[in-house]
Structure formats: C-alpha cells, structure tokens
C-alpha cells in the first residue's frame, strides 16, 4: 500500500465536519462494497475454511494431530488463546477507562477498538474448545451439579478462567451493543426498505427522547465503571493459570501486571493495524487525525517500556532468587532450541517500539503499521516463550522435551486470524464503525448565541 496522503476529494469531508457530515461519512461506509473488498473476503474466507478443515481433522484423528506431547501439552493453542485475550484488552481500555477519564481523542477510534475486543474474545474463546480435544464435552467446564458428581474445583485457576472469560465476553458484547443503539437508529433513518426494518429492530426503535437518553447515559457510565476493574482482572486471572503452577519461570507474583501491560501493548498495535486502513479507505482523515495516531503511538511506547522493565525483573528475579531451577529455566530459554524465539521477542517488544521516541515516526503511517506488526509478532512469541520453553525445561531432565508444530495446529492458528478478520470485515460494512453520537459530542453542540 502506498502511504496515504492528506489530499481529500471534492465530495469527501471537510476539515471541520458538521453533524450532518458525520452522519453522511459514517452512512456511506455501510453501502455496497466494491470488488476489492470481496477479494479480501474471499482470501480470508479461504484461510478460515482451511482452519476449519484442520480442526475437523483434529477432531477426527484425535488431539495427537496437534503435535502436543508431554511435557508440551499446552503448546500453541494456549499461546494463541492468551494472545487473543490480550488483544481484546486495548478495546476495553479505550472504551471504558478513557471514557471515565473523558479523553476526547478516544471518540473516533473506540467503536473499532470495541468491535476488535468482542471479536478477539470470540476468537480466544474457541481455543479452550480446540485445546480440549473432545470438545463435545466442553460444557463440563461450566459448574453445574449433576448425578455423576462432576463437581468443579473452585480452587483451580482454570475454573476462575472460565468465569473471567465468560464474564468478559458477556460484558464486552453488552457494552458494544449498547453503544451501537443510537448509531443504528441514525442508519435506520437514512435507509429504506428491508434494511430500514432490520436496522429498526437492531436499534430497538431508538428515538433519542429525553427518557431514553437519561437512562442510557447512566447505564453507559455504569458499564464503563464495571468494565474498568473487569479488564484489569481478566488478564490477571489468565496469568494465574501460570502463576499458580510450580513450573520454573511461571511461579511469580509479577505475572498479573506483566500480562495486563502486555495485553494493552499488543491490543494497541492491533487497533492501529485495523484503524489505519479504515482511515485510508473510508477517507476518515477529519475524524482520525495525526493527534490520534500520536496518542496511540505514545501508549505503545509507554507500555513497551513497562514491558521491558518486567523482562528485566523476570531475569533479575530468577538470578536473585538463587533457585537453581529458576536460573536454569531462563538460561535454557535464552540459549537452547527456542533461543531464536526468545531474542525475537525482545527485539520486537523492547527494541522496535523505541522508534516512537521520534515524533516523525509516530506520525508516519507506514512506520506505525510496520511497528504494530512487529509488536503483534513479538507478543505472540512472548506467550510462546512462557508456555513452550517453560514447560519444556522444568525440574528434571527426563521430563524435558522439544515441541514441533504440525500442519494441523499451525493451520488452526492461522485460521483463527482469518476468523477474527472475517468478523471485523463483515462488521465494518454492516454497522457503524465510527461512533456517530460520540464524534458529534466531540465536535460540540450547535449554538446560536455562542458561549
């Protein structure tokens, strides 16, 4: 893609959009897409089909098709599960925490980020099923009493995880849908025929009357207030899956903040990966300006520096603990068969984002895009480095082992990206991916007599 320039065509939005411009600029994105869009959809759809075929194969053959052997029973599935949960976090951060802080720059990116959250958690939610092997027994995860006494163990972090993820998914979906209601009403009022009827149902017949707004605003504030502790807790609970175990390199109180920071870091990179093309193709330069990109790049830089601090802590703790197994685990990660993944992680997460110290880099879309891709790769490998070499080198040599991915599990991982992107691509063409109401609020109310 050539670097987009700031030139705007004659019919596109002007520098200072009015309220009517906002409606028009959002409504034109839900029109019939062109061939380029369908070409992308076909590619993503084919990749997804390959992923589904690989999963079917794994169900047919058994979990052995995934290349998981002791001691690497978690391997790539849990890596990718943690990765996708992490991606979701930036969306909630933008939609809830920045809402409570009244950060105005969030208005034009939060809808896209929130959709990203919902789809990322939906993608992550597939992995416990894929990983479980006999996924038709997945309902055993839920705590329900039965005649066979399959009582859940509430002291297990895996059960906490079930509660945390399902709550996170439910609340994210509710927050997302509630935010959409007034915007879908705007779409309804500008469309005709069957589309109008569908949008009318989705908008719940919203009219923007004072009664509706009053309760809506209160409810929205509460959603933001409960999402804030929730988002911080979810990745902490995910990190307990590791930190509660005795595996060297896992058993650390550092894990909760370490995971939360990494989640926000990778999530912001994914936001940029999604928002930059949207800005280019939808011509949303008046709404997503350099200021937004600058703010996001700064957040990536800050979270990267915090993450580097945690990396240093991790190594220091292993050394300072004096524990032989901790030290051996770090040494094995940095020098043995997975050393390439270990150093790749440091390069992508700690070194590459440093370019954002330069203002020119923060405003250059190509640099932003490339760094974001590096961050995504780095953060996937961070989880890989925790799980695979961690499990592969624990206390005794006879339990050590090397994991080799198979075509089946690799295809499922790639397919999960296709699943995420197909949901997102569909979303931006049928629902408003820019918040009409919040952008209007940021523009300011039209007043006759001035303030």
């Amino acid at each position: 893609m050539t670097p987009p320039t700031q030139t705007v065509t004659a019919d596109a939005a002007v520098a200072n959009p009015t309220w009517a411009d906002v409606n028009r600029d959002v409504i034109r994105t839900v029109s019939m897409p062109g061939n380029g869009y369908f070409a992308w959809m076909c590619m993503v759809g084919l990749t997804l089909a390959a992923g589904i075929a690989a999963w079917s194969w794994q169900i047919w053959i058994g979990i052995g098709a995934a290349g998981k052997r002791t001691p690497q029973m978690w391997a790539m599935y849990i890596t990718t599960f943690v990765f996708w949960i992490g991606i979701g976090h930036a969306g909630t951060l933008i939609s809830a925490i920045l809402y409570l802080f009244r950060a105005k720059w969030r208005t034009s990116i939060y809808r896209g980020a929130e959709a990203m959250t919902v789809f990322a958690v939906m993608t992550a939610g597939l992995f416990p099923l894929i990983h479980a092997g006999r996924m038709w027994f997945a309902y055993w995860l839920l705590p329900y009493p039965n005649q066979r006494y399959l009582w859940p163990n509430f002291k297990s972090p895996l059960v906490w995880d079930v509660f945390a993820i399902s709550t996170y998914l439910t609340i994210s979906v509710l927050f997302f849908l509630v935010g959409l209601v007034p915007d879908i009403a705007a779409l309804r009022d500008s469309s005709t025929g069957i589309r109008k009827q569908i949008y009318n149902v989705l908008s719940l017949g919203w009219e923007g009357s004072d009664t509706q707004w009053r309760h809506y605003r209160r409810a929205y504030g509460i959603f933001a207030a409960i999402s804030t502790p929730l988002v911080l807790s979810v990745h902490s609970v995910v990190s307990f899956d590791f930190a509660m175990a005795l595996v060297p390199g896992w058993h650390s109180t550092l894990f909760a903040p370490f995971f939360v920071d990494g989640a926000i870091f990778s999530g912001f990179a994914m936001v940029l990966i999604l928002i930059l093309p949207m800005r280019y193709f939808f011509n949303w330069y008046p709404y997503i300006s350099d200021k937004h990109l600058d703010a996001m790049a700064k957040l990536i830089l800050v979270t990267s520096l915090v993450l580097s601090y945690f990396y240093i802590c991790e190594v220091f703790t292993a050394w300072y603990s004096g524990d032989h197994f901790e030290r051996a685990s770090v040494f094995a990660k940095a020098t043995r068969e997975y050393a390439w993944a270990y150093w790749l992680m440091y390069f992508c997460n700690s070194v590459v984002p440093l370019v954002f110290f330069s203002r020119r880099a923060r405003l250059n879309t190509v640099v932003l895009y490339v760094v974001s891709i590096f961050v995504i790769i780095g953060m996937w490998f961070e989880r890989f480095n925790i799980i695979v070499p961690g499990l592969g080198h624990d206390f005794y040599p006879y339990t050590w082992g090397t994991y080799y991915p198979t075509i089946t599990d690799s295809t499922i991982i790639v397919g999960s990206f296709a699943w995420f992107f197909i949901l997102f691509l569909a979303f931006i063409r049928v629902l408003p991916s820019l918040s009409i109401v919040e952008v209007k609020e940021a523009i300011g109310h039209p007043v006759k007599h001035g303030h």
Partner: protein
C-alpha cells in the same frame, strides 16, 4: 377533550434549552425532548420534571445478587463434595472471592442492561407520532402535550424561543 401535541424543531442546543425553560415557566410540564446526542444542560432541566434515574439502583442490587450467588454456588458445591484439594479446606474463601468478583460484575452488567431497557421503554415497537428522522442527524425536538386551548400559547412560545418549524 383529548390533549393536543405541539412539536417545535430546533437547530441549536441553546435555543432548545431556552424553549424548555420558557415552557416550564409558563406551567407546561408534559414535555418530551428529542436530541441527536445527550445534552447535559437539557438533561438537568428535564430532571426537574422527571424522577431521578433508577439505573444505579438496579446496578447495585444486581451486583450484590451476583456476589451472593457466587458465594452460595461455591460454598454449596464444595460442601456437597467435600474434598481437600491443594491442601486447603473444602470451603476456603480466598479463591472464592475471584468467582464472587466475576459474578458481581456479570450480574451488575445484566441488570444495568435490564434497567436501561425497562426504564427507557425499549424496545419501542412503533415510532412516536412526534418523532422526526432528522432527530438522529442534527435537529432537536421539543414536543409539548397540553389541553387544546393552550396549543396556541405553546406554539408561539416555541417559535419565540427560536424553533425553525412548529407542527401542531
């Protein structure tokens, strides 16, 4: 005799607010305001004639129900199958707090949604007679319901305040 309704359509937030103030000063209390975005000043004005939103009450009750449900579920389940795992007593509260936290948030969110729908009377199956599609773009609406003999007074109040259009 049935009450009549007058609708004033405004372009500006401040004139809309002025119209509501004028109407209230003259004793009109059955007012419905349409806005494309929530406007704090208008909301404050409207709070005088409407009870305080009960969404927060729903949220608190829902949240506490979640907490209670979680402790009930975890403690009851553990007592039913009383096994010592991880060297902890069957009922050990600290790990159950995590479940309680998650269910508090879950129930709080669900009851907030319920409150928003119930109190805001959503979903609304058919549009209100005074609704205009421009209210989701950039127009504000003030609909006054009053006895037929006061319709002219309400209409002239709306136009003096700055309504672009007054519909009876």
């Amino acid at each position: 005799m049935a009450d009549a309704t007058v609708l004033g359509i405004f372009t500006h937030a401040d004139t809309t607010l002025q119209a509501i103030r004028d109407l209230r000063a003259k004793g009109f209390s059955d007012i419905k305001v349409y806005t494309p975005v929530p406007v704090e000043e208008i909301e404050e004005e409207i709070e005088h004639i409407r009870p305080l939103s009960k969404v927060r009450l729903f949220a608190v009750v829902g949240g506490l129900t979640g907490t209670a449900t979680a402790f009930f579920l975890t403690i009851w389940t553990s007592l039913k199958w009383s096994l010592v795992t991880g060297g902890k007593a069957p009922v050990s509260i600290p790990p159950f707090i995590i479940i309680a936290f998650e269910l508090t948030i879950l129930f709080c969110g669900l009851s907030t949604l319920l409150a928003m729908l119930l109190l805001g009377r959503l979903p609304q199956t058919r549009p209100s007679p005074t609704y205009d599609p421009r209210f989701t773009i950039d127009r504000f609406g003030v609909a006054v319901t009053c006895p037929p003999d006061k319709v002219d007074a309400a209409g002239s109040l709306l136009s003096t305040a700055g309504a672009d259009e007054v519909r009876r």
